[in-house]
């Protein structure tokens, strides 16, 4: 049954860090975020693009971030920085590059082809650096599934909320009603293609309640993670993903049942006197993996 375990490390939170700020980058690993996202795009002015690119590539290459997953947001394919960003960042071997403003599958295939060239030139395993495709236009959202399946490199779809409001000509609201369709569409496309789905950022640093509500919504809709713009947001996001105690107790029983069935060579798993299907067992394993991030390793750890 070990094959049922989720082999992807959990990525509930991804913390944006401005790419030209060494004071922040040097502490990227300490804030408890599952992944960090070094930003070469919006957080860096035009005249510092080269400096930020070099700084980030050195940090990714030379600094040990431990268990934290390191990703880099590059500049879009419509900018003069796109190719240089890839050429310098890919060889530093981040887990993934986030490609902003994906309007259509071509944006991804272009990045994919370039990355393959770079990987070959640097003797890297082909496809080792993943792509997180950022959808932030109406056109991009409507092509979510096509984008999701456009390259084997794609690991996740992510929602870019700020640009999307502009494209839609709407305002960001506290409840996020304007993104209901976009969120649903992205999650559905990502899951259909077997990818992760990451929610957009909550920008009001003083409104932790608002963040909590939005993170809870993201969890309910099915996002696998949510971006943060400040270390103070990480805890709230993780709390939203904390597994429900009752469900977790049941998950421990399901896993115990599954293991017993395997030991005894039974094909049918039964828990609490009821038969349990494969997908439910998988979900139980995933839930227990998730629980370990909260220091819960066994049923006794639940209070």
């Amino acid at each position: 049954m070990s094959g049922k375990k989720n082999t992807n490390s959990a990525c509930r939170s991804m913390l944006y860090m401005p790419g030209n700020n060494p004071g922040m980058l040097q502490h990227a690993a300490v804030f408890g975020a599952d992944s960090v996202l070094f930003d070469l795009e919006d957080a860096v002015s035009e005249r510092e693009k080269d400096a930020a690119r070099r700084l980030v590539s050195h940090f990714v290459k030379d600094v040990d971030f431990g268990k934290v997953i390191v990703t880099v947001r590059i500049n879009g394919a419509d900018t003069p920085y796109f190719e240089r960003d890839l050429k310098e960042i890919v060889p530093s071997r981040p887990a993934a590059v986030r490609v902003p403003k994906c309007h259509s599958p071509e944006d991804v295939t272009r990045a994919d082809e370039l990355m393959s060239e770079i990987e070959r030139a640097n003797n890297m395993p082909l496809g080792s650096v993943k792509i997180h495709a950022m959808l932030e236009t109406a056109h991009g959202i409507e092509h979510a599934y096509d984008i999701a399946v456009s390259s084997p490199r794609i690991e996740a779809l992510t929602l870019g909320g700020q640009d999307l409001t502009a494209d839609l000509g709407v305002q960001k609201t506290r409840g996020g009603v304007e993104f209901l369709y976009a969120r649903g569409r992205i999650v559905m496309a990502a899951k259909a293609a077997g990818l992760s789905a990451f929610d957009t950022v909550w920008t009001d640093l003083n409104d932790i309640e608002g963040l909590k509500n939005e993170a809870a919504l993201a969890v309910q809709i099915g996002f696998t993670g949510k971006a943060a713009v400040h270390p103070s947001q990480v805890d709230a996001i993780h709390e939203a993903y904390r597994p429900d105690t009752k469900e977790l107790r049941r998950a421990f029983r399901i896993v115990a049942g599954a293991e017993a069935a395997e030991r005894e060579g039974k094909g049918v798993i039964s828990v609490d006197g009821r038969m349990v299907d494969g997908p439910i067992v998988t979900r139980a394993f995933n839930l227990i993996n998730l629980a370990s991030l909260y220091g819960i390793e066994k049923e006794d750890d639940l209070t």
Binding site: Q26, H27, A29, V30, F31, G32, V63, D64, H230, P231, S232, G295
Partner: protein, 521 residues
């Protein structure tokens, strides 16, 4: 100067010419095994007075003449007026103008802003300095070897001990008094230059041969509603225009840091306190006024609130945050030796459980029992810590004096769990050293060193290690963390120092010597 190695393998002088003989440091409580005897108790000097004699003068020179001060004697000041203090400059200038030489300056500490003291060292007015610390220009002057006799640096408790034991014999104490009556009753909780507790001054008033209250605020006799130093200890009341700049004395409330690295550090420190099992009803707690320390206090407060815990007392320097915890009922009392910000100043007059204590009561290891010895938990800062957990709060990475010892070693020695909080590196410089530049607090008294990157527990504290591991805290070996940080910053060179020239010594609270500070090159 003949040097001898102490138990921490630090070379310290056996004798400082013009100051006296010293023993090398052995261990935090080795003093309990020493055959220490008190000097024979003599009666206090008597001062026969006629009824209604006039203590007040506004003539500084006259007051100094009456005090009997001579060149070569010892003068003291308190540092309660912090960066706003105008008493030390006023008196030193007058002494300089009057032609005094060769004085011993023995303040409770020197405020950050008092760079001018360096000039009086150069002029020969001050030839010996005993202090809790030396910063800015004064620190640089000492580190450059501009004072011939090594400076003796003591903790607050150590200074109290030295005064009570006679190592420091104060001839004249000039004590700034924010509120004072004509007969010398004084307090710090009222007046334009109000500063809160007068805990350091209380001791000097008891032991100085001659006490001058320096005030800009003479109030009706008798001073009310509280008297911090009573009239029978005060020889003269010197009325001046101003004893200090109010805005620099009563600074705005110290705020909790919003720096995410500080907050992460504070969170780790709080998690360790929680794991220590010490946060229970009746617990006692001290934090410094630094942003990261206060952030620990904020976590502690939330925890006490959630778990309906009521502590016994908070101790030490008081910030508004600690007083808030008192007022909201999380502690029974606050024992205040020094107030840090404006919000604290008048709280003592309003709240009987905000209690002014003198520095001997706070931290002197040689009286009949000090409050620091009743502490459960203390959160302390550090400039450097070494792999043996010795802490430096006095010299910078360049070897220059730039800090103050304060109550650091006293509370570390007294508390059940002393936690050092500091960033793992700051300004690109690693905090963990193989050997700290200067030992101020011996590693034997430290429970743990906590940074944004994890918790390093002193191997001497197996109990704490076990509890931290049970609580799944990010426990790291201090040597591993040191290597992790040096992989980022690079390995620092050892700064150059002239080890043939001792410019200062750090005295342990029991009077033994912990370390020497050398001239920088």
């Amino acid at each position: 100067m003949k040097m001898i190695k102490n138990s921490l393998a630090r070379l310290v002088p056996e004798e400082i010419p013009g100051v006296g003989k010293f023993e090398p440091y052995v261990s935090p409580f080795a003093y309990l095994d020493r055959k220490l005897t008190s000097p024979a108790i003599k009666s206090r000097p008597i001062h026969p007075q006629a009824p209604r004699h006039d203590k007040v003068t506004s003539d500084i020179k006259r007051a100094i003449e009456r005090s009997g001060l001579e060149s070569g004697m010892t003068i003291s000041f308190h540092h309660h007026l912090r960066g706003g203090d105008a008493v030390i400059p006023l008196i030193l200038r007058a002494l300089s103008d009057m032609g005094f030489k060769n004085l011993t300056l023995a303040p409770s500490s020197l405020p950050d802003s008092h760079d001018f003291v360096a000039d009086y060292i150069r002029s020969g007015l001050v030839t010996r300095l005993f202090s809790s610390g030396a910063r800015g220009e004064v620190g640089r002057a000492i580190s450059n070897g501009e004072i011939e006799i090594p400076v003796v640096l003591r903790s607050h408790g150590g200074r109290a001990r030295a005064i009570e034991q006679g190592d420091i014999a104060i001839d004249v104490a000039f004590l700034g008094a924010p509120a004072c009556d004509k007969y010398g009753n004084m307090t710090g909780s009222a007046g334009r230059a109000a500063c809160g507790s007068l805990g350091y001054a209380q001791l000097d008033a008891r032991y100085a041969r001659h006490v001058i209250a320096v005030t800009d605020n003479i109030m009706d006799y008798p001073l009310r509603p509280r008297i911090s130093i009573p009239q029978y200890l005060v020889d003269q009341v010197l009325l001046v225009d101003s004893i200090g700049e109010a805005s620099k004395i009563a600074t705005g409330a110290v705020k909790i840091s919003r720096n995410p690295v500080d907050l992460k550090t504070a969170r780790n420190a709080f998690d360790l306190l929680k794991a220590s099992g010490l946060m229970t009803n009746g617990c006692s707690f001290q934090v410094g006024a630094g942003g990261a320390s206060l952030a620990v206090a904020a976590f502690v407060k939330d925890y006490m609130k959630e778990n309906k815990i009521k502590g016994s007392f908070g101790l030490g320097g008081m910030s508004g945050y600690m007083i808030e915890m008192l007022e909201e009922g999380y502690f029974e009392a606050m024992l205040d030796v020094q107030s840090f910000d404006k919000s604290v100043t008048d709280s003592m007059t309003r709240n009987p459980n905000h209690i002014e204590i003198d520095v001997s009561c706070y931290a002197n290891p040689f009286n009949k029992g000090c409050a620091a010895h009743n502490l459960d938990m203390v959160i302390l800062a550090a400039l450097e810590i070494d792999t043996d957990f010795n802490v430096n709060v006095q010299t910078g990475h360049d070897g220059v004096l730039r800090g103050a010892i304060g109550g650091h070693p006293d509370t570390a020695a007294g508390a059940k769990c002393a936690v050092i909080v500091a960033p793992s590196f700051r300004g690109g410089v690693p905090t963990i050293k193989e050997r700290v530049t200067t030992v101020c607090t011996p590693g034997e008294t430290i429970g743990a060193f906590v940074t944004e990157r994890g918790v390093c527990i002193n191997p001497r504290r197996e109990d704490l290690i076990r509890r931290a591991r049970d609580a799944k805290l990010p426990v790291k070996d201090i040597r591993e963390l040191k290597a992790e940080i040096e992989a980022l910053t690079g390995v620092p060179d050892k700064p150059m120092a002239d080890e043939s020239r001792v410019v200062a010594v750090v005295e342990n609270r029991d009077g033994t010597l912990l370390d020497s500070v050398y001239k920088v090159v």
